[in-house]
């Protein structure tokens, strides 16, 4: 059953099913042939099952150390712990492509299953478009990066995996990211289906939103986990480097966030239709583009991926067909989509348009910074690298107006708003923010202090929004509580997500207070960093399953009281001859005490020690944002009269 050839066959089967799904869906909807249309969702489910089988076979090959499979021999070894043999399945190029195909297949399966209350023509077209995209990617997996390629004779032992990748972070980060990236294929498919049909209305906005939300939540989690992984596993002590690979994941997140908000306008007011369709196409295109740039080796990144320019051309052609095709359709069909809703500039719609303009401007700036170096090199032969100073000077001026508008926008009413009620709602949030800003400016530089103001403004603005919705203080507490219970989940979700962004900003701004130093200590010696006394107690050794480690035991105390004991390690992996630093972090929710064991020398240890204040908030905020998205996703309104689905779809896809 788990023979690799079965996996290969299932993958080939998935290609055929995907093509049939695409052709029957789109052709059937065009011909209005009910039986063809009904076949598409069934084929989509079949395709998803075929991919599940194929992926399961690959996981099995990794688990049982089947070194006759090339990717297993090249990336695994029998010395590797079971957990990493499983997660190693997607730690290499062919495996990750198969995971990508699997998620894409699960997405179309989810639309087929949960979209049963969509009009049949809409469902057939959406599933059809998904089928055609799946066909392209499964074909790529089968022809250009087949994970089931065999070796004969099989080697006795595999080459093992890059030890940096042997981390629980790797277990969830890439699948989450893929779930997000690929999840945006659903809004994309809806957009293309709408363009084929030539109609976008309020119902379309309502269908698209839950899928967008689900993908957005997954991408938020994925980016947060990735940032966390870089922070603790790579031992750099930083969390975001404006590295091209990170930017590639940020871009779809930004446009996805814009899409999330503009879809509300389509649903509520039937305005911004062409813009929303373009965003839906653009977000998935940017997801694809990011993957392509990372995998092809075009971008210069600190995250080293095996570059494969030969495969690059295949992906480029594939992306070209998908993106150019959909944008061509957009150019031909979108001009006919006329807006219906009318509103004044000062209104919820107006605020959401401002949100879209600012977010998309940030995305444009990040895209420019990311794409400029390779294009400057190609066209003018100029070698440049765009670093954090560029992003700091271009993103921040756009981000702060966005933060300002975020807490105001939720206070505006639809169609036409007045300013007086807005001020009544947010004045106290503004007051608290200013007070916090005054405190902050005494302790930190101007920009982080401004960040703290923005953070407080978002958190308290979100609280003010909820307080005003439940008429806190103007109604008796019991009735306010009853209102809180009856509040729409989408409203709570929005408040939680907005506050989450505030928490993240507070963490980023607070990191400016972080203290760090590289010190050389002999056992018994100590040093002072960030108000703590760090003492190297001893240097020991221990053996892991496929590595040997030197362990430094560092006692951290504050005013003579022991706070924690950190045991950073240096691990040596004999098979690859690689050494990794295993950072150790102790967090109390407000600050991270962070130690890296640099090297052992003359009986002492070179240690990098950090006292990172507010650092955990960066990831708490990310979790809050994703939680907000999930709350919004669980809103009843999204389930009634819409693909019932998305929460369950997300859960199903996550499994």
């Amino acid at each position: 059953m788990f023979n690799p050839e079965v996996g290969n066959f299932a993958l080939a089967l998935a290609v055929v099913l995907a093509i049939a799904q695409g052709v029957m869906g789109i052709w059937g909807a065009h011909r209005r042939d009910a039986s063809l249309m009904a076949a598409a969702p069934a084929l989509a489910i079949g395709q998803a099952i075929a991919l599940i089988v194929s992926f399961a076979v690959l996981v099995h090959a990794n688990v049982v150390n089947d070194f006759s499979v090339k990717v297993v021999a090249e990336n695994s070894s029998s010395m590797k712990p079971l957990f990493y043999r499983i997660t190693g399945t997607w730690g290499n190029h062919p495996g990750s492509v198969l995971l990508w195909c699997l998620v894409l297949g699960l997405c179309s399966g989810a639309v087929a299953i949960f979209g049963s209350n969509l009009p049949s023509a809409v469902r057939a077209r959406v599933v059809g478009v998904q089928g055609l995209s799946s066909a392209g990617f499964t074909l790529f997996a089968l022809l250009s990066s087949n994970p089931f390629t065999r070796l004969w004779p099989p080697p006795m032992q595999g080459m093992d995996m890059n030890p940096l990748l042997q981390d629980p972070g790797l277990a969830i980060h890439p699948p989450m990211l893929y779930l997000g990236y690929v999840g945006f294929s659903v809004p994309f498919a809806f957009a293309v289906a709408a363009l084929i049909e030539g109609r976008v209305d309020a119902a379309w906005g309502r269908w698209v939103r839950p899928w967008t939300l689900a993908a957005w939540c997954a991408l938020t989690c994925g980016i947060t986990l990735g940032s966390w992984w870089a922070y603790y596993d790579l031992g750099w002590g930083g969390f975001w480097y404006w590295d091209p690979v990170e930017n590639a994941s940020l871009l779809p997140w930004l446009t996805g966030t814009a899409l999330l908000h503009s879809a509300i306008v389509v649903e509520k007011r039937e305005a911004l239709k062409t813009w929303t369709v373009l965003l839906a196409i653009g977000t998935f295109s940017l997801s694809l583009l990011g993957t392509f740039l990372v995998r092809s080796g075009i971008l210069n990144s600190v995250h080293s991926f095996a570059a494969a320019p030969n495969r690059g051309v295949f992906i480029l052609v594939l992306l070209g067909i998908l993106i150019v095709g959909s944008l061509l359709l957009f150019a031909l069909r979108a001009p006919a989509l006329a807006p219906v809703g009318i509103f004044a500039p000062l209104s919820r719609e107006g605020a959401l348009i401002l949100n879209n303009i600012l977010i998309c401007s940030i995305a444009a700036v990040v895209l420019t910074g990311t794409a400029y170096p390779p294009f400057a090199d190609l066209l003018a032969g100029i070698k440049i690298s765009v670093g954090p100073p560029f992003y700091a000077s271009t993103v921040f001026p756009l981000a702060f107006p966005l933060f300002l508008a975020m807490s105001l926008g939720t206070a505006l009413s639809w169609k036409r708003a007045a300013l007086a009620p807005v001020f009544r709602q947010v004045w106290w949030a503004a007051l608290i923010s200013v007070v916090i800003g005054l405190f902050a400016v005494m302790r930190m530089r101007a920009l982080p202090a401004l960040g703290m103001v923005a953070a407080a403004w978002l958190v308290f603005g979100a609280l003010a929004d909820v307080a005003s919705r439940i008429s806190l203080f103007s109604l008796p507490p019991r009735r306010s509580l009853a209102r809180l219970m009856g509040l729409r989940r989408a409203a709570i979700g929005a408040a939680v997500a907005h506050a989450g962004l505030g928490v993240t900003i507070a963490g980023v701004a607070g990191m400016s207070l972080a203290a760090s130093a590289v010190v050389f200590l002999k056992p018994g010696q100590s040093t002072n960093i960030g108000g703590y006394t760090w003492t190297l107690k001893s240097i020991g050794e221990h053996d892991g399953s496929n590595y040997k480690a030197a362990v430094a035991t560092v006692l951290v105390s504050h005013n003579g009281r022991l706070v924690t004991t950190l045991t950073p390690e240096r691990r040596q992996f004999p098979i690859q001859g690689i050494t990794t630093d295993e950072a150790k972090i102790q967090t109390n929710g407000l600050r991270d005490l962070y130690a890296v064991f640099g090297e052992e020398r003359d009986g002492g240890a070179v240690l990098r020690l950090h006292d990172n204040r507010f650092a955990p908030w960066i990831w708490f905020g990310g979790a809050f944002m994703a939680l907000g998205g999930l709350l919004s996703l669980s809103d009843r309104r999204l389930r009634v009269g819409a693909p019932r689905p998305a929460a369950a779809a997300l859960a199903a896809a996550a499994r």
């Binding site: 392509f292 092809s296 320019p309 480029l316 957009f330 001009p335 500039p345 066209l379 690298s385 001859g577």
Partner: protein, 219 residues
Amino acid sequence: MKNPPNRVARPAPARAVPVRPGPGRAVPGAPVPGRSPLRRTLLYSIPVVTVLAAGTGFYFMLRGLRRGTFNPHGVPSPLVGHRIPPFSLPGINAGGFSSTEIFAAHRPLVINFFASWCLPCREEEPVLMGLRAQGIPIWGIAYKDTVPAASAYLSKFGNPYARTASDEPGRASIDWGLTGVPETFIINSEGVVVWHMAGPLTPELATRVVEPMMQKLNQ
């Protein structure tokens, strides 16, 4: 004030046509610009045209990557096209070398900066060993490294270098414009830097760039 479908009653505010959206006056919701259908089609074609242009660019980058003419990882060095800076360094075990000796060698060389405390250097080691096996001379300079540590590193992980020198204070490396280790320079027989790479050499770079370039320089 409902717009009939498929027609735009008014130019959009986004295009700075005066519409006077005064208080209480509604304007069409989406920025739907353009009066004639042709202009709208042209406007809506901007995304596809942009993507086509970008795609063409990416194609040529990929082609360049394969031919070795396009290298996104090559960070510019002011030294490329210039003679190497004058320096004289003590050795790790014996010898050491100076810029005079490089000029005197009068043949193309690979100069590699490394350190025992640098993880990417260790990853690069097998690639350098491969180059050495091809008969390519690599002269190594240990950057900010003690002599015992560098010596132990070379004996433990293998020595790919024809000659080695130690720049423990790191002063010569400043003249070379080093940004970190490892860094690799290819110099021609005149002592002029012709190629530079910051970061570890990959097997691909070794076969696509270093080997052909050394062959060409040797002719």
